[in-house]
Amino acid sequence: MHELPITESILKIVLKHAETNNVRQVMSIHLQIGKLSDLEDEWIQRYFDYLSKGTVAEGAKLKIERMPIMVQCNACSTSYKAEVPKLGDLTCPSCGQKDSTFLSGREYYIKDMEVQ
């Protein structure tokens, strides 16, 4: 539901980098988004297509890399990946303990972009 303000921020950052690098056309943008985020890839692209009309980023393809949710076992410190539906009931693959601490999976990051 909050894809629109997120997409506005993406476009603003992309256009800033496009200007400082004398870009004529942005071909693609590589995003890294944590799996804990509820963003819908399709809607980010649709909003982007709409907002970027008339800019050098018009027509750019958003390549969204979903970053895994990582947690750390509170007993043995092993880090392991978790999926959203399992988050309430995690078991450490190494020692079998259930208590864990969230490490990452909330990323909202623009890594790079392909331009001409």
Binding site: D38, G88, Y108
Partner: protein, 224 residues
């Protein structure tokens, strides 16, 4: 067509909001005004909790409320009727408050003379979790009729909060809500979270909430 180049961007998409949120936190740290962001689904009892809180604390703390609503002033009117300054922010269709909107609310309040500002965020368990408002404490309400499975559906919200209020416990006997299962799910996401069971209707558990809030405001005031 020219050659394709790769530009390293390496920027946080929400960098602007993160920066404004940090400014809000710092500004209120100087005035010793604790900012508390209250989040929940629609109808789980945010406004009722705020009214209970106002009734309990208005003689001992100087507090004010920033209400966020997509397009109404109903909540601010209810709070203002209790003699507490309230600012209504209309988000104009946005599903959450961001730090810039909160700044507008704070600008409209005399924060120098306040101990506590409570933000009543837009009723929604998804978007408000993603946007730092600049609050010093994040609190959420889950009401019994919503079900004990919500941590599985909205893990981010449960993972960012300092305190969870399970409201409407007067409905427990009528429902299959599994409190131990809820606690286990929430603590798996966020081992540091404090969970309190309350009913804004009967007043059960409200004292625990008020004590927690007083303790936090006092600790905040003592921080250098």
């Amino acid at each position: 067509m020219g050659e394709v180049r790769l530009i390293e961007v390496k920027e946080e998409i929400l960098a602007d909001n993160i920066k404004v949120a940090a400014e809000v936190r710092e500004r209120l740290r100087k005035t010793k005004t604790m900012l508390l962001n209250l989040m929940s689904s629609p109808g789980s009892g945010k406004t009722s909790l705020i009214l209970q809180t106002v009734a309990n604390l208005k003689d001992s703390l100087r507090l004010s409320v920033i209400e966020a609503d997509i397009d109404s002033t109903v909540d601010a009117e209810k709070v203002a009727a209790r003699g507490i300054p309230a600012i209504q922010l209309r988000t104009g269709g946005f599903c959450h408050l961001d730090a810039t909107m909160v700044t507008q609310g704070i600008d409209a309040l005399a924060v120098n003379d306040l101990d506590l500002v409570i933000i009543e965020n837009v009723g929604n368990l998804v978007c408000p979790a993603e946007f730092d408002t600049g609050a010093h404490k994040n609190v959420m309400i889950l009401s019994v009729p919503e079900g004990d499975d919500k941590p599985l559906k909205y893990p981010l919200m449960f993972s960012i909060c300092d305190l969870l209020l399970v409201n409407k416990i007067d409905y427990l006997s009528l429902s299959d809500f599994d409190m131990p299962a809820l606690r286990k799910r929430v603590l798996a996401l966020n081992p540091r979270i404090i969970i309190l069971e309350v009913s804004c209707k009967t007043g059960s558990g409200i004292e625990d909430w008020i004590n927690w809030l007083k303790k936090e405001v006092n600790a905040f005031k003592r921080m250098k």
